[in-house]
C-alpha cells in the first residue's frame, strides 16, 4: 500500500473507512502508518512523532467524510501529519534543523583529484537487479542500519520519494522544503547508500 494503490481498491477502502469499518481501519493503519511516521520523523523526535501519528488516525475518523479524492489517500494522510507537526513546532517555537549544504559527501569528494577526475573510481558494477541485491539478507540488514543512521531529514525525503513514490512536488509540500533543497537531501542520502553498497560489495562488511 506504500506505493501505487489501484484506484478501485483505494476507493473501496475509503468507502469502508467512511462507514467506520474497524477491519478497514486496521488494514489502513498497517498500510499507511510507515509513511505517516516517516513524515512525522522529519519534524519531530521519535516519541512525539508516534503520538502525532496516533492523533492523526483519530482525526481521520471524522475528516474522512470530507475527503474528496483530489489527491490520493496516502498524500492526504501525509499532509494531515505534516500540518499537525508544523502546528506543534509553531506552538513550541521550534524549527527543524536541516543541513542543505551542497556538494558531495566527503567520502566521495576525496575520490577525485585536483583536476576533477576520478582518483579512486568505482571498481565494481552493482548487480543490475535490485531484487537480486535484496535477496542478500546481510545487505538488507546493512541497508536498515545505514538508513537508521541517516539524518532524519534525508531519511524522510528518501522514504517519501523512493519508497512511497511521492512526486517531488508532493514531497516538497509535505516536508515544507523547496524543490532545490529536496534535490540536495535526496542526492546526499543516495550517495550514502551508494557508498554503503559499494563497501559491502567489496568487503562483505557493513
Amino acid at each position: 500500500m506504500d506505493t501505487a494503490v489501484h484506484p478501485d481498491i483505494e476507493g473501496s477502502l475509503i468507502e469502508a473507512l467512511k462507514q467506520g469499518d474497524s477491519t478497514a481501519y486496521k488494514k489502513a493503519v498497517r498500510g499507511y502508518s510507515p509513511g505517516m511516521l516517516a513524515v512525522a520523523r522529519f519534524y519531530l523526535d521519535h516519541s512525539s512523532a508516534e503520538e502525532i501519528v496516533q492523533d492523526c488516525w483519530v482525526t481521520v475518523i471524522d475528516a474522512i467524510h470530507k475527503f474528496e479524492g483530489r489527491s490520493g489517500l496516502k498524500t492526504w494522510l501525509h499532509r494531515i501529519v505534516a500540518n499537525r507537526c508544523k502546528n506543534k513546532l509553531r506552538s513550541s517555537k521550534r524549527e527543524v534543523a536541516t543541513d542543505f549544504s551542497e556538494g558531495l559527501e566527503p567520502e566521495l569528494a576525496e575520490r577525485f583529484n585536483a583536476t576533477g577526475r576520478w582518483d579512486v573510481p568505482p571498481k565494481l558494477k552493482f548487480h543490475e537487479s535490485a531484487d537480486t541485491l535484496m535477496e542478500n539478507g546481510a545487505l538488507s540488514d546493512c541497508l536498515d542500519k545505514h538508513l537508521s543512521a541517516l539524518p532524519e531529514t534525508q531519511r524522510s525525503a528518501l522514504m517519501l520519494y523512493e519508497a512511497h513514490q511521492h512526486k517531488s512536488e508532493d514531497v516538497c509540500n509535505i516536508l515544507d522544503v523547496s524543490a532545490s533543497n529536496l534535490r540536495v537531501l535526496l542526492h546526499r542520502a543516495r550517495q550514502k547508500i551508494f557508498l554503503m553498497v559499494e563497501t559491502f560489495q567489496e568487503t562483505g562488511e557493513c
Binding site: 506504500d2 467506520g20 474497524s22 481501519y25 486496521k26 493503519v29 498497517r30 502508518s33 510507515p34 509513511g35 511516521l37 516517516a38 508516534e50 501519528v53 496516533q54 488516525w57 483519530v58 475518523i61 471524522d62 551542497e102 556538494g103 558531495l104 566521495l108 569528494a109 577525485f112 583536476t115 576533477g116 577526475r117 576520478w118 573510481p121 568505482p122 565494481l124 558494477k125 552493482f126 548487480h127 543490475e128 537487479s129 535490485a130 531484487d131 541485491l133 535484496m134 538488507s140 541497508l143 536498515d144 538508513l147 528518501l158 522514504m159 523512493e162 519508497a163 512511497h164 513514490q165 517531488s168 534535490r183 535526496l186 542526492h187 543516495r190 550517495q191 547508500i193 551508494f194 553498497v197
Partner: protein, 86 residues
C-alpha cells in the same frame, strides 16, 4: 567542460530527469567517453532501485496496537453520538 566530479554532483538530478536539456546533453557526452562515470551512474541508479525495493520502515507492533485501540474507542464514541442525534 564537465568533469567527473561535476557529474557526480548532479548525478541524482540526471537520474531523475531534472536537468535542463543542455546539462543533460553534457552529461550524456561525458558518459560516452568515461567508463568510470558510467559505472558510477549505474551504481547510483542501482542504489536508488534498491531503496525503492526496500521496505519503507516498520512501525512496531505496540504502536499499531495503540492506534487500533484509539480508533476503536473513537469509533464507539462516534456511533454513540450518531445514535443520540437520531
Amino acid at each position: 567542460m564537465l568533469m567527473c566530479r561535476d557529474l557526480a554532483e548532479i548525478a541524482s538530478d540526471y537520474i531523475d530527469g531534472e536537468l535542463s536539456a543542455r546539462q543533460n546533453l553534457s552529461v550524456k557526452m561525458h558518459l560516452m567517453m568515461c567508463q568510470d562515470c558510467r559505472t558510477f551512474i549505474g551504481n547510483l541508479r542501482a542504489s536508488t532501485r534498491l531503496m525503492q525495493a526496500h521496505s519503507s520502515g516498520h512501525p512496531d507492533e505496540e504502536l499499531l496496537r495503540r492506534i487500533d485501540e484509539r480508533i476503536s474507542e473513537a469509533l464507539k464514541t462516534r456511533r454513540t453520538r450518531d445514535n443520540d442525534e437520531e
